[in-house]
């Protein structure tokens, strides 16, 4: 059972609202990731972090922003949500300093966002 949690699981909001999707892990992992996935489709990496105060944009351009102030926490924020942001957002983590590390990604259950 993966110790990585995402909230909310489901969110329906109106256009223009600011939202924050939370992701927390209790495994002490250094690396954390956000992927965007439309239903039945591939995953796209939108943000990643190698550690505290380290964040990078992924391969898919996203209007969202992330922060990594604490090792266990990697929230994703949309300042002004639009219908085009409707999707599932998956958080993942891997790699603990000092190991043992298998290279495996641990995923949360996802946050399904609908913007009306």
């Amino acid at each position: 059972e993966a110790d990585i949690y995402q909230t909310p699981r489901y969110l329906v909001i109106g256009t223009g609202k600011k939202i924050t999707l939370e992701c927390s892990q209790t495994m002490g992992h250094d690396k954390m990731y956000w992927y965007q996935q439309d239903p039945g489709m591939e995953l796209h990496l939108i943000h990643y972090s190698y550690g505290v105060n380290s964040t990078e944009k992924g391969d898919l351009s996203s209007e969202s922003t992330v922060s990594r102030i604490r090792t266990e926490h990697f929230p994703l924020t949309l300042e002004s949500a639009r219908p085009s942001h409707t999707s599932q957002y998956l958080c993942a983590s891997s790699e603990k300093a000092g190991g043992p590390n298998t290279g495996e990604l641990f995923f949360g259950e996802g946050s399904r966002l609908t913007v009306l």
């Binding site: 992927y35 591939e42 995953l43 990496l45 990643y48 891997s94 790699e95 990604l105």
Partner: protein
């Protein structure tokens, strides 16, 4: 464009049959992993194969890797209805901790 392409996109088989899905990628990798996703859920890690390995087994799973062809295959033997899910390959890119996912294969196992 995505690093990984998988085929087939969808596969429907009878319970007890074997299921094979393939993944091709474009750049050099540290390792390749396979994940399973049940509808509406997060992904679950199945198996990892390193770039210097050619074949790996885990229970009913068999993974092969051909770095010269930049391709991998996942074989699920004696499939069960509970194996119905989407399966994704993910490549760990050389020199980074980034993982790029393929397009996925949607497997349906009929009871």
């Amino acid at each position: 464009s995505q690093q990984g392409e998988e085929d087939p996109q969808a596969l429907s088989i009878q319970e007890g049959e074997n299921a094979t899905m393939n993944c091709s990628y474009k750049t050099s990798i540290n390792n390749l992993q396979w994940y399973r996703q049940n509808s509406g859920r997060g992904l679950v890690h199945l198996i990892l194969i390193r770039s210097n390995e050619r074949e790996k087994h885990s229970g009913r799973l068999r993974v092969t890797l051909d770095t010269s062809k930049k391709s991998s295959s996942l074989l699920i033997t004696a499939s069960r209805a509970a194996d119905t899910a989407s399966y994704f390959c993910a490549t760990g890119l050389g020199g980074t901790y980034k993982y790029i996912f393929g397009t996925g294969t949607r497997l349906k196992v009929l009871a």
